[in-house]
Every structure is written in structure tokens, then in C-alpha cells.
Symmetry: C2
Subunit: 335 residues, 2 copies
Amino acid sequence: MADNTQILLAEKPTGKLAESHFEARQAPVPEPADGQVLVRSVLLSLDAANRAWMQGPTYKSAVNPGDVMHGYAIGEVVESRSPDWSPGDVVAGEVGWQEYAALDARTLHRCSDHRPLSHLHSLLGIAGKTAYHGLLNVPGLEAGETLVVSAAGGSVGSIVGQIGKIRGARVIGIAGGPEKCAWIVDDLGFDACIDYKNEDVSAKLAEHCPGGIDVYFDNVGGPILQSALFAMKQGGRISCCGAVSQYDGGAPASPVGIPGLLVVKRIRMEGFIVMDFADRDADAERDLSQWAKSGQLKVVEDILDGLENAPRGLIGLLAGENRGKRMIRVGPDPA
Amino acid sequence: MADNTQILLAEKPTGKLAESHFEARQAPVPEPADGQVLVRSVLLSLDAANRAWMQGPTYKSAVNPGDVMHGYAIGEVVESRSPDWSPGDVVAGEVGWQEYAALDARTLHRCSDHRPLSHLHSLLGIAGKTAYHGLLNVPGLEAGETLVVSAAGGSVGSIVGQIGKIRGARVIGIAGGPEKCAWIVDDLGFDACIDYKNEDVSAKLAEHCPGGIDVYFDNVGGPILQSALFAMKQGGRISCCGAVSQYDGGAPASPVGIPGLLVVKRIRMEGFIVMDFADRDADAERDLSQWAKSGQLKVVEDILDGLENAPRGLIGLLAGENRGKRMIRVGPDPA
């Protein structure tokens, strides 16, 4: 059987992630044990959280040097030693950064018939569900409210802002670079977008949100969270989705004014993980599909070809170069 | 008419508050203008928030050097130029640190017939309502949950913990000194109390809350909030009531791990101000009165005699020397 290309975490990064922290190797294609399934990877998801996994345990165990890099992928069953799966089944699971993985049958999820498959990572995948649940089931959003979202051009932020518009909110994005900001306004329909690399975020928030922010969807933490905290309206809500500014060697500085600002402004700050809302995933899939079908929501994907591009793809994602959901095409779609 | 003793903020404190920051003076008893009422102060409330007011505007305007120190008091109407009030009426309002004040009639609240009057500052006043709303209407509390409360011997904390016990929670206090901690367990009925001045708060939280904290009621901010954040259970809730550790020259250090810890542990942190729940004050008054009457809730008061003791009373309160609600008796009860 063909060789299995794998990418390992060679060294634990302490500062910025670099290609030298990874190492590719060829290994034999594994033999599934009883109760296992051999999966061929098709589309590998790249996520800012991948970097956080290298720092230590989060909502899952840490990735350690010498491990095949962890990653969530869509793939095809090529051999099954479980009565639950057959060759040709399309599944999603913790395949890691490799072409083939032998996985416990119970850890796999069956993919729907939806095509293109890439939507199962973007619109209907973790990105879409994180945006949907993290906005509508954590802080909630009413028509007429002012929503601010950071990493607004990313996989989650691009959907959060569009849901905000669908729900009748004023939506202000925060993203890096004038071209990306223009795209967010012109193509995604946000009311405005602040270029944090070239503009004073606090001054621009004051300009675009003269009555204060009702809901801030935070993907980044750090100084942008700080600016948003000061710009919140009394009684405002913050959905804490991630802290990408702090994953890749950024100083893990907390915002000042915690808890004083929360008290004086009666702010609610709440963290969430998308899996907590699995019982409401059917709602998310129904609404997101319908919005995409009607053209109200644009699905933005950024697909790189070839597993060998995963390290530079992740490094670029952490630097904010992607637009929408970034993934790696590891192999062809199932026939 | 008799002289009016006033205590002014003489100088804005930058570090720890000291008696030298205040100045007493005699002024004429003011003449109420049309629409005003002359109030004689009876019981002046001392609160940690008094110190925060000196730092700048909060939920009210700042106290500035040269101002009569701000303060909320219960008093008696001695002269009225408003049709709404008559001499002998018992009122509460922003009297400040002085014996007499001429106040706009519309800013006064009519006091109930409840006696002793001191209960209108403690059990049925801002302290009791802050405890009630800030626990039951912000994070909520279910029987069997683990509640941790800081400043557990203070005006608010002593009531929060007792409500927690009434609601069937396990209640762990945090307070300063072995005698106070013993009193909190033996007299107030908490399950345990951690002495933050002599014990390792993180280690003790791990010992007393092996399954993690469901609800943390935070009166202090700073390092104790930090320890609690790390000890929270997944999905835990934090009610942000105040940050007394930071009012009196403490470093305004935010806890580390914001927002990362909130995400990974799915924590909700929410600030509140008691006035936001005015529409539910009747519930609070009914329940608190009933609990006190049945003996389930002990009312703890710490009353100092004489307006001249207000500065040292507030300084001592900020150092944690009070047990329960501290107030100053400025003058005799109305006949």
C-alpha cells in the first residue's frame, strides 16, 4: 500500500510558529485494529486553535513534540473493522496531519450528503456553527443593536457579521489591512470595518458606535478586546470565542479594568465552545443552509492544495492572511 | 440654628486612604430652597464603593477635593419646601458626610416603617439587596452547587453566604484573619472559610471545592479573583459585585487568562449594580425579611457612634476590620 505522508510537531514553539517547528516523514499506512476504521484524508481543517493546542491542554489534550500534528479532517473510509462503517463512507474526525489514519470507529462522525464537501468545514462545519451558536445562543442579538466582530475576515468572523446583518443589526468588523477591510464592507455587506493595523481602534469604535457596543464577538483577545471593553454600552454582552492574538507568541496580557469595568458597565462576558451546543446543531444547519441558498450569506473558503502546505497555511492563518475558512486539500473527493 | 458639622475630602488620595485626606468644618445649617427639604442625618452608610468614588466617575460622579464627602444616609425631614414631604418623615438619600443637608425633594426615598432603622442599610438596604439580586438574579444558584464568596464577613458577603445556605448550596467564604473566619463558620453557618491573610487561597479552594466552583460572588477582584478563576468548574458563573482590593491603592491588576480561561472553561462573568434590579426589590425585601424573622438569616451590623468617626470607619472598612454592615450613627432616631 502507498506510503503515508505525515507532518509532525518537531519542536514546541515558544514564540512565533515557524515551518522549522514541523517535520514531514513517510510512514507505513496503518492497519486498522478490531473496532477501527482506516480513513483517507480529503480536506483538513486549519484553525487558530491548532496553535493553542501546542501550548498545553485546552478543551482537548496538548500536542507534544514527536506527535503527528492534531487536526480535524473530512475523509473517506477505505477499510473497516467495525460493523458501523463501510468503505466509501464519508466521515469526519481527528485524522491529524497525515494522509491515512486508523481511528476508533466510535470517534467518527458521519457526513451528510451536502456537497461541496468543503462546506462541511465552513458553512456547516465548526466555523459556521461556532459563529451561529456563539452569536445567537451566547449573547443573543436583537434587530437594531450594534455588533462588533474581530477577525472579521476569518472563518468565524465573516459568518458572524453576515448573521448580524441578517438579524437586522448594525455590524462593524475589525480586520487587518485596507484591502481586507474594503472586501468585508463591499462583498460581505458589513456597515464598516476598522483596519487595526493602520487605524486607532478605540477612536474608530467611538466613531462607528457612538451609542456604544451592544454585542462584541471576540476572536482575538488582547488590545482589541481592551478597546472594545471601553467602548461597550451599559449592559453590553461579550462572546468570548478565542484569543488568536495570544496563541502565537503574543504576550498573554489580560485587559485592564477586570472586574471594575464589568461592574460599572454591567457587562456580561461569556466563553463558549461550539460542542456545548451540539443539541442545537440542527437549528444551525437549517438556518445557515437556508441563508446560503437564498444568497443572504456568502460562503467564503480559502483552500490550499497539498498536505505539505499545512505548516505554512497555519502560519499564514495566524498572521491573518486567509479570507474565510482555510483548509488543506489532502486528496481527491471520494468518487 | 445649630451648626452643621461637615467632613470634606481635603485631598485626593493616590495610595492608601488616611485620615489626613479628610477635613472637618462647621458650616451653617442650610436653608432649603423652593422644592427642597432640610434633612437631619441619623444613620450614614459606609461602603467600599465610597473609596472608588474618589478615583473618578463610576456609576455616579466623582468626589473631588473640597466637596463634602458623598454618602447615603437615613434621616429625618426637619423642614420642607415641597408638598411631598413633611417634618418628621423618615427618608433616605444622598445626604453626604454632614449633619444637615438641603436636598431636592425628588431625590429622596421614603423609608418604610420597619424598625430598627439600621436594617434599612443592612438587611433591607443596599447591602441586602446587592447580596440578593447579585446572587439570585445574576448567576443564579441551584441547591447542591458550590458557592464561593469573598469579603465573606462584610455587609454583602455575610448575606450572600447565608442566602446560599438557605438555597441549599455548599458555601465557602474567603475573609481575613482566623477569628473572622471562625465566626463566619460558627455564627453564620458557612461550610468553610479560607483565611486569605494566612492561607494559600488556591490550595484551599482546591481542597474545599474538589469538583470546582459553580458560582463565585466576587467582592474583591485582584489575586483572589485570579485564584477563583482557576478553580471554576466548567460552565461556572462569576458575579462581579466590586473590586475592593483595588480601591485603596491596590495595583489595578487584572487577572491573567482573560479571555482564554473564560473560553476553555465556558465561564460567564457578569457585573451588576443593585439599582438595575429595582423592579424586583419587593421580592428581595419580602424574602430577606422572612428569612431574618425565621432566624435563618442573621443580620450583622457594625455601628460606630459619631460623624467624626466616619473617616476612620471607612479606612478600617477598606482594611476589612468590620463585621457585617458598617454605618455611622450621626444623630438620634426620630421620635
